[in-house]
Amino acid sequence: MKTIIAAGIVGLAMSVSGLAFAEPVKIGMITTLSGGGAGLGIDVRDAFALAMKQANNPDVTVVTEDDAMKPEIAVQIADKMIQSDKVDILTGIIWSNLAMAVVPSATGQGIIYISPNAGPSPLAGANCNANYFNVAYQNDNFHEAMGEYANKDYKKVYILAPNYPAGKDSLTGFKRFYKGELAGEVYTQLGQTDYAAEIAQIRASGADSVFFFLPGGMGIAFTKQWAQSGVDLPLMGPAFSFSQDVLPAIGDAALGVKNSASWSPDLDNEANKAFVEAFQAEYGRLPSVYAAQSYDTANLILSAMGKAGVSDKDAFKAALKEADFASVRGSFKFNTNQHPIQNIYVREVVKEGDVLTNKIIDTAFENHEDAYAKDCKM
């Protein structure tokens, strides 16, 4: 009897909240679906779609477009989505240079932007904005964790990243926590595919290890060429260099490499187990860290829709800020600059059967905050 009454109350409460907030929400997703970075965008799109399918909420529509990894195209799509599609929320951008081109103008027009990946430092500090939420991380975070971890074993690290905003954030983040000496510091071109010149310099530098941030095809190329070069030094990097989207193409050359992330397929919590299982069932592959972040983004939006209507912008933003959803990363909350406070783990690439994947071996930071939050006056 008790349970029936309880169920009745829950049902009543749900229908009431449903009545109060059954307001349609239109989400515009701008992400990279073609070219070298497409693997990342496709994981973001697919995980977002999975969360929406599971929620089965008829009030949400998602429009998706491909930015081809080009800032000017991302800006055009954003303008079109804001002006003619009349979206309430934008999301999806992978690359920080694209985020810097789109986010300030979109949030300036009163659109809520929720980032599933890119977290450039200017948007986290002095230029933070009440309309901008980042569910993923501030760019520096994963690299900071690897800098901290490198202190254990290494004294002379060679560091390498592409020459774009997230690359700068990467090496800055690493150096913020790493205390040893640097054997060298190199910025490569974004989209570069041949690293023979850099590998030769690393060989000659007398480094005891290498930290590199090269997402997508760049990381595949670097790691394969590294294995062929015969230089025998330990590699480490943020999860982007060894995420599930690139591991099959790198092959066994990636085995044993340490990398840092806020999430891993083996992270032990209920939401994550269900997510990894559902993603594999739906798409026949393991999710990447980008997929996990996008899945959280979708569930964050759904949680806020249950609390407030999107037409009341302030109430909706307050509901987003509560972050009242079951994150696949376990504990998750927003800092004052609306970037996450979360654990960052160290993972190792392992082989399970025939599949290369990551396993958590250590926790680098607990409830880590980014370095820019103090500059954010919101």
Binding site: E185, A197, G217, Q228, G230, A249
Partner: protein, 306 residues
């Protein structure tokens, strides 16, 4: 500065240049003979890499993959020529650029449709997996030496083909006066298809060899295509010799620039700033060089006659 490092970087520059030559040779040959700007040349490079990765994964042999890449790229090139390109010879360059750009989109989306967006796995053959010692105690990957070797062999082969064979004679004749050799009874249509397939096969070979170094993925051809155009503009459009010299110059300038500029800048600024500014300037170097060549010799270093 260690000599060993410098030698290694020069070899890297040569290897990069040779790879660009394989792309640029086909591009410049097609432009020289047919007067056609083929933006879809990068797609043939991608076809070669995907064919090699697929066959190597199925049979376990990189060498069979390499053969497959030549065959697949030549076949794709011939098919492209017969169905689309043939209708473009009489049109102006704008129509050719539009149509071949459309071909890029068709090839990219078609490949994505068949293979998906996740990059494919292709590794170098075990036979070439080692490294050879360099003077000064350093080592250089054997596979990259093999690429340099293949590039030189292709350059010599092309030179002999064009100067010593009947086909080469027809190609040269086609470059200088296409109505005349048509009137002399040479089957121009077949000649064009053969030249196009030859250029395509060279691009496919480059794609397969580089695919083992980098990642085999949709869109891998376009960055190389831009560099190949820089090479043929520097070398002189239509000239195979120009393509060889241009490719080696671009390869060496790019590689040595990336290596030496940050070092040079670090003598008077902080290492972090030097790394960042050096990388930015190094990425512009080949375009600056191209602008210089165009200013001094507007038709390129080895401009074809006419």
């Amino acid at each position: 500065m260690q000599t060993a490092l410098l030698i290694e970087q020069i070899l890297n520059g040569l290897q990069f240049g040779v790879m660009l030559f394989l792309m640029a040779a086909g591009l410049t040959l097609i432009f020289g003979v047919m007067g056609l700007i083929n933006l879809a040349h990068g797609s043939l490079y991608m076809v070669g890499a995907f064919a090699c990765a697929t066959v190597a994964a199925a049979t376990g042999s990189f060498w069979l993959g390499l053969v497959a890449s030549l065959a697949a790229a030549a076949a794709a090139g011939a098919l492209m020529e017969i169905t689309v390109i043939r209708r473009l010879y009489e049109r102006d360059h704008l129509d050719q650029v539009l149509a071949t750009f459309a071909l890029i989109l068709v090839f990219s989306e078609g490949t994505r449709w068949i293979f998906g967006s996740i990059p494919l796995y292709l590794n170098i053959p075990p036979l070439l997996a080692g490294a050879i010692p360099l003077p000064g105690g350093s080592a250089y990957p054997l596979y990259r030496v093999a690429i340099i070797g293949v590039g030189i062999a292709v350059a010599i082969g092309l030179h002999l083909l064009i100067t010593r064979t009947r086909l080469g004679m027809r190609i040269r004749a086609g470059e200088s006066d296409r109505e005349m050799i048509g009137a002399l009874g040479v089957d121009i249509r077949t000649l064009y298809t053969v030249v196009f397939a030859l250029g395509a096969a060279l691009a496919g070979l480059a794609g397969a060899m580089v695919g083992a170094l980098q990642s085999v993925q949709v869109g891998m051809g376009e960055p190389v295509l831009i560099l190949a155009f820089v090479v043929i503009v520097i070398g002189g459009i239509g000239s195979i010799h120009g393509a060889l010299v241009g490719a080696l110059l671009v390869g060496l300038i790019d590689t040595l620039g990336r290596f030496l500029l940050p070092v040079a800048l670090a003598t008077f600024m902080g290492p972090s700033a030097a790394a960042s500014i050096g990388a930015s300037v190094a990425s512009m170097l080949i375009y600056v060089f191209m602008a210089l060549v165009l200013a001094i010799r507007p038709r390129g270093l080895f401009a074809a006659a006419g």
